[in-house]
């Protein structure tokens, strides 16, 4: 009965490959996110998505694209992987209250290693 689950937990792949990370939430939340934790341990938002709009952090390369087949899923696709993409990626979700998003619930993270 995991609230936010993402797969795989670990992903090792070669430079230039295309990969996907899946995320599902069973909380009924209407907003989902992808965050990246880099080697310096900074947690930074990459995308925010609800069924109305996608908001992209301007620093995210366009090789990264979120895909949402339905409200409970937000998958992360990465094309032409680079060494610098190695990081831990966290999916999260939150429910809007009073017209704004509140606390987010996180998945366990996917450690991506590009070799």
């Amino acid at each position: 009965d995991t609230a936010v689950s993402q797969t795989p937990k670990y992903l090792v792949t070669q430079m230039g490959n295309d990969k996907s990370i899946k995320c599902e939430q069973n909380l009924g939340h209407d907003t989902m996110y992808w965050y990246k934790q880099d080697s310096k341990k900074f947690l930074k938002i990459m995308f925010s998505y609800n069924n109305k709009e996608l908001i992209i952090n301007e620093t995210v390369p366009n090789r990264f694209s979120p895909k949402s087949p339905d409200k409970a899923h937000l998958n992360l696709h990465i094309n032409s992987l680079e060494l610098g993409d190695s990081a831990v990626y966290f999916c999260a979700s939150s429910q809007a209250r009073g017209g704004r998003n509140t606390e987010a619930f996180f998945g366990q993270g996917t450690r991506l290693t590009v070799v």
């Binding site: 965050y35 341990k41 366990q108």
Partner: protein, 112 residues
Amino acid sequence: DQQVKQNSPSLSVQEGRISILNCDYTNSMFDYFLWYKKYPAEGPTFLISISSIKDKNEDGRFTVFLNKSAKHLSLHIVPSQPGDSAVYFCAALGGGADGLTFGKGTHLIIQP
């Protein structure tokens, strides 16, 4: 340009004593603040939050204080327990960003 700063990378506290974790922010448009706890190889877990219209919020052993004029918040844990050993992230909502803006985290170590 870190908008949320946690200047102590680590903090060591004896079991049973009070742990105080600090956080400073620069964006005056932030209007909601949160603390998350993170164990290794797990995602951050929401701990406690505070709206900018309040100066204190308490939940069991955890209390968050907000000083808006100083743009400073702190998390107090009392009494500290071994299971509290984790990395604690301060985060903020608002300020023009759609998601959470995180600090770099403070690694809290509770010593027996």
